[in-house]
Amino acid sequence: MLSALVAGLATGAVFAATALAYNVMFSTSKVLSVTTGHLPMLGGVAGAYVIAGLGLPWWLGLLAAMGTGALFGLLTELVAIRRVLARSDEHLWLLSTLALATMVQQAVGLWWGTEPRPFPRLIPQDFSAGLADQKFWLPIALAVAMAGGLELFYSRTMAGKLFVAMSEDAFAARARGIPTDRIRVASYALAGALGGLAGFAAGQLTFAYFALGLTLTLNGFIALAVGGLGSNVGALIGGFALGLLNALASYWFGGEYQQTIAVGLLMVVLLVKPEGLLGSKQVRPV
């Protein structure tokens, strides 16, 4: 029972981290990118390749994971977001990010192989550690640190305040002389680096697996919608709640219905409280 809870919390932490990456990109562009779940996937694959494949030390793997994520975030903004936002058509960004997500998933599948591969140990630890195993506490600690770090970044630094200004009103921010395009690029790179970091930290739990992206895109989004769009604490709560629910459900009913239960949670929350637990109500000005 306890092991199920801990494993659930750890999985939930990965969802929460994905939801945070969603939030960072959403704050500056009002776009929910389908590529979000692929950032941790890329981080995990890049880390496993550098550490296990090339035999380099772990910190180079960490750099590679974050760098790959950031690069892919940049690419997403440049290729799939910028031109589409300039055209200001309704949901074209959904199509363009979906196309990019498909391409990166397939490219990784062709290069890395379609089987999940193990992720190397980061800290020397015996495999009999049980609940204290690093594969559980690394993602949990990271997700909490990420949420806290983002909150500090938003409230204490100038760059973070620019992000907040853009999320409040991009036109007003532009009128005040904020280079909104550059801030948006920066936010995508930041989200990419954070996503890559999350994939690196959770690699031992999820394995380096090319098809992880879509699952994370969906579950991260559910965590975000449950917690409330735009809220970092909400993302954390939503992710952990989803992970725990999944774990308890597979503990009691068996592991076959995880996705069904996750979507059930989303539907219940959307019916009762459409803006999510901590989200702000969307008011349409008339």
């Binding site: 589409v84 074209l92 959904l94 199509l95 979906l98 997500a101 498909t102 068996g254 069904t260």
Partner: protein, 333 residues
């Protein structure tokens, strides 16, 4: 000859070519491919109303296809029902599934709806794997074929093509009448559609249920064609393929998506390097279309045709009434 006549002639030519295909197809494999295209089109024709006309980005239609295929396999195979009845039953079942899925999810905004449909595709896969004694689990399920005269490849092709033709006719009827106009209005602006009295949720729901029925029928035909189905047959990328066909062909038309499914099904078979790239190629195509011509490739042809067609040069000779002009000038002085 007006554009309308030419379009009708083109459609008649296409129909004639499709109807006589078993006589001129080079080998059995081409016939199989044509049957596959027709089965896909049964689903895509219905989906086209949802994605192309109403603008609801359903990326999880493979879930409904899977329900239809498994319902057909179980009813016609295990329960021993007549295949025609089984097709009708699986169509009805998928219509109900579409209603149950659409009722909550069509109220959601774009990205939420897309995610909900994607989740359904994953859920159906999970349930199929979990309900092993009904669906065969990961091992799969044999699917019975149709009785004579549809048991030969050519006969089954005609059956599938007839179903595809019926779906095309139905969607065409919807598309050019009030229902279709309402769907287009919803796609372009929900607020405007509401303001002019289009029942937004009702119209979307009707289109979605119709696409569900189509998915059920298409799934039955697809399963009978494959003759053995496993959960791997209905991978999520197939769903993406349906979606890409419509977007690439062009939203808000029928011919465009049809050409899309023909080209995208046939191309990887003819050019083998593309088959290896598979979904990467679909993703690349989707990205290129979205960035360069969001209206779809069908629109490109129209633009090129408009560019090539010599426009009649209008010359408007100017013949001023000189005496009157002179008088006016004089009186003003």
């Amino acid at each position: 000859m007006s554009a309308e006549h030419r379009r009708l002639g083109l459609a008649a030519l296409l129909a004639l070519g499709a109807a006589t295909l078993p006589f001129w197809a080079a080998d059995q494999y081409q016939l199989h491919l044509a049957t596959l295209i027709a089965a896909y089109w049964v689903l895509i024709g219905g989906l086209n109303l949802v994605v192309g006309y109403a603008g609801q980005l359903s990326i999880g239609h493979v879930g409904l296809l899977s329900i239809g295929a498994y319902a057909f396999a179980i009813l016609a195979g295990k329960a021993g029902l007549h295949p025609a009845l089984a097709v009708a039953a699986s169509g009805a079942l998928c219509g109900i599934a579409g209603l149950l899925l659409g009722l909550p999810s069509l109220r959601l905004p774009g990205f939420y709806f897309a995610m909900a449909t994607m989740a359904v595709a994953l859920i159906v896969g999970e349930v199929v794997l979990a309900q092993g004694e009904l669906t065969g689990g990961g091992v799969g399920l044999p699917v019975p074929g149709f009785p004579a005269p549809f048991d030969s490849p050519a006969g089954f092709y005609w059956l599938t093509a007839a179903a595809a033709a019926v779906v095309t006719w139905l969607t065409w009827n919807v598309a050019r009448r009030m229902q279709g106009r309402g769907l287009i209005a919803i796609r372009d602006s929900v607020v405007t559609a509401q303001a002019v009295g289009v029942p937004v949720l009702g119209a979307k729901l009707r289109a979605f249920v119709f696409s569900g029925v189509c998915a059920g029928v298409g799934g039955s035909l697809f399963a009978a064609l494959q003759s053995y189905i496993t959960p791997d047959t209905f991978h999520f990328e197939l769903s993406l393929f349906f979606f890409v066909c419509i977007i690439i062909g062009g939203r808000g038309g029928i011919l465009g998506p049809f050409l899309g499914v023909v080209v995208l099904t046939a191309l990887p078979e003819l050019v083998s390097p593309l088959a290896k790239l598979g979904n990467f190629f679909y993703g690349l195509l989707l990205l290129a279309v979205v960035l360069v011509v969001p209206e779809g490739i069908g629109r490109v042809f129209e633009l090129v045709a408009a560019r090539l067609k010599p426009r009649p040069v209008e010359s408007v000779p100017v013949q001023p009434d000189l005496p009157r002009l002179a008088r006016a000038l004089r009186s003003n002085r």
